[in-house]
Symmetry: C2
Amino acid sequence: MTKWLESVGTDEDVVISTRLRIARNISNYKFPDFMTIDEGQSVTEEVLNAMKDNKDIYKFYRIEDLSQLEKTRFVEDHLISPSLATTTKSGSFLLRDDEKSTIMINEEDHIRIQVLLSGLNTYEGWELCSEIDDYLEKNIEYAFHEKFGYLTSCPTNVGTGLRASVMVHLPCLSMTGHINTIIDGLGKIGLTSRGIYGEGSKALGHLFQISNQITLGEKEEDIIKKLNKVVLQIVARERSTRGYMLDRKKIELEDKVFRSLGILNYSRLISSTEAMAHLSNVKLGCDVGIISGINPKDIVKLMIDIQPANIQKSSNKEMMKDERDVYRAQIIRNKFIDMEG
Amino acid sequence: MTKWLESVGTDEDVVISTRLRIARNISNYKFPDFMTIDEGQSVTEEVLNAMKDNKDIYKFYRIEDLSQLEKTRFVEDHLISPSLATTTKSGSFLLRDDEKSTIMINEEDHIRIQVLLSGLNTYEGWELCSEIDDYLEKNIEYAFHEKFGYLTSCPTNVGTGLRASVMVHLPCLSMTGHINTIIDGLGKIGLTSRGIYGEGSKALGHLFQISNQITLGEKEEDIIKKLNKVVLQIVARERSTRGYMLDRKKIELEDKVFRSLGILNYSRLISSTEAMAHLSNVKLGCDVGIISGINPKDIVKLMIDIQPANIQKSSNKEMMKDERDVYRAQIIRNKFIDMEG
């Protein structure tokens, strides 16, 4: 899993990943919330039919065929949204073999195309997203309004239906507290910050997902350009804060980073929240050169691997929280022995 | 330094050390607080003269000849009392070459004989203490009252002048909170608990110094017998609590011990209070078999070596707190590299 991490973006010392998703609906169908199971099935067939020439590179999954563990794991790997995982009727998705894109069917909208790439990679991401969109549009008649643009189940997506988001790792801006002014400022320019597992989930491991709030009245290219520009500004501020701390608070920063490395190497019991905080410090240590010999992408992968469902998946059984915390500590220790060995 | 640690006592999984001290005053002299410098000098000479046959095994130190750092270091090593270190006139001491005993001169009383041994060793300790006492008494006329016994500067020491104390390491009784009832109970049987660097200093690293409160109306042998008996009861309770935790809370205990080991191995900045807490957990880990390959006595030695003045002594310079915290972290890391091979 987490193959998408193998792609290459820029600014990977601060930017973890770039995600684009567009919401589309098929004309003459009710929105998923109001559909019967049969109508949901027809929508699914329309999408599968439109994508039939690509079936070698897309694997099809029905939500109802997946166990709770499998669903949560797809969510933790950022491959599907938490809402798709909880759909009770007709939810399904197509996942590209390199995991760079997912086509979600009957989530909040009939179709949601998602592209997920490593690092900052908005332009390539948008290109891939548009390509899939164009492909579907050849075979499917989208619900489109001349004045409003693409019609969506929730009015906040009407227009472009585009949500472009970039996941950034901001440990130093978090430590100094500057992160709060930055988040406040985002709202004023039509952007927003969310926790890493989507809306409503809280920020873990100093990871922030910066995305556009507005989908109406702005062209896709402009949304992406603005997001890209703002992210680059945030990246620059995080880097200068890292530089400042290395310059003025070096020993305190080293202490923080190495203590986290020590705890990850030695603990016998650890929650995902605590592990995320320490992995965040260790990633920072790798990115600024305090720790050498560890690939920071391995730390990002570990951040995903230690989420509750992934922990259970790798142990092949469902577990209580306490059991997971023991198993998680073991996975982390083994991984660090591998990485540092 | 800390040669006294090399002696062998019993119950060393819980008991760190046994200390006995007797207070004596010379007849026809005022108590030290009221003496002139010349009188203080005469007292010193009387003691040195009485001990002249032993001068090969006792080294003489005058407090005024020692730097602040050296004085504090003798205190941290438990070889002299904090009050002797702060005497401004005529304070001095004789230290035996194996560091098992010190004769302090012109502290609160003219003479205080201290014996310090590793582990539980009250009977051997008392024998050595009496031997020195008898030796001095041959040459010196003690201030003694038929009804009250040995007269001392502070009425709380009148009688035997004996304070017998045992330093115990009680991490599990501290974790469960049972330590509080035990400490409360000590008062009812004429015993008391103090922090490890004497009266007024707080308990660090789950180390408690159990000693007799009463010196009047009880024979020396009875004081020692009672202390020994109570300490053995406390040792048994600490051991059974360790057993309970190993049985019922094994993973939590392992987690605590190994996290402390991780922090000691990785931190770049650590206060003596924090280090003491982690060393306490690691010593527990060694004593119950969670950690193997580390000699718990090396941990006790490290507990002494990381105290502020010892840190400065080993770096050969006076340091600010921040500097000490960095140097302390380094000493600990190096020591663990040595110990863990």
